[in-house]
Subunit: 202 residues, 2 copies
Amino acid sequence: MIRVLLVHDEYLVRSVLAEWLRQESDLTVHDTSWRGAPGMMRSVRPDVCAADLECADSYGIPPLGELCRPGPERVRPRLLVLATANRPGLLKRAAEAGALGYVDKEGSPQNLLRGIRRVAEGERFVNDSLGFGFLKAAEMPLTRRELSVLSLAAEGASIAEIAGSLHLSHGTVRNYMAAITRKTGARNRIDAIRISQGQGWL
Amino acid sequence: MIRVLLVHDEYLVRSVLAEWLRQESDLTVHDTSWRGAPGMMRSVRPDVCAADLECADSYGIPPLGELCRPGPERVRPRLLVLATANRPGLLKRAAEAGALGYVDKEGSPQNLLRGIRRVAEGERFVNDSLGFGFLKAAEMPLTRRELSVLSLAAEGASIAEIAGSLHLSHGTVRNYMAAITRKTGARNRIDAIRISQGQGWL
């Protein structure tokens, strides 16, 4: 039997998905939201955690790090993510968090079953249709530092506030913002935020 | 029999939801994306259109107007929306488009079945748990004009570009932006966009 923890923030959708998965005789399925996920990881200790990359909290950025923290035997949970090619920033985050499986939400539900079984065996699973998304993720032009600056700006922080929280001078923050605007091909700061959110980088 | 058109932008999710709905002996179910929805409305002519309010296009604002246009016999399609209380702007748009039913995605899938059957009879259906969202929608502080200005700003347009597309003077656009920032309780323009997108107003 494969123990699956399904993570999705919409109770209606995850109930129906979980019910659908339970029709398979080799799966035991628990389900939870992103908020409940770290606790359920500890109590259920699933063979595979299948998590939707959309998240209702923190501007849609799922707390993948918390989910992927190694357990007491230092074993990393096997993570399979439900993703779309047009959020390359989220794909990149999932890859950095060490996700083994990538199922395209634009594809057939059968991929989810195939993905769960492959990842349960410790093998990689990637839908070909996500390829373009990975390519775009690899081209992400911003550094970690630039992303921190832009994230604070996107939360409405002023130059002075950003400078204060990152221990930088005002001039340095302005230089970062200029570099970000140039590298994202944006017209201005708001456009840079819009482009970066659209790509799932923020 | 009730003819249902299910609209959801994620093929994986809508396939499983449609399959789940098809277990009910009184429902015939078709499914499509938001992009395909207007065409399917004309060909399927459903008794109920059950549409997820999340949309992959146009910054997440679903084209509800297109969906609710009256057909050849001037009958308005009966619309049931899948919504969450924390996107009051989208609830408001659905109400303005004349949606009859409102199912909370945070609630049980059984609500979807109840909602479809009620709306098919031409009756209103609203999950109580969406009440707070409707309250917040009623409190939406921005006028239509202010929303147009803010939408253009959110797309990265400059004051000059906004003035040009709305046929306003630069000073008027600046006044609108100041009013928007004040009314949304924001710290600055970027914060006003963030707050308004978070509320689903944009």
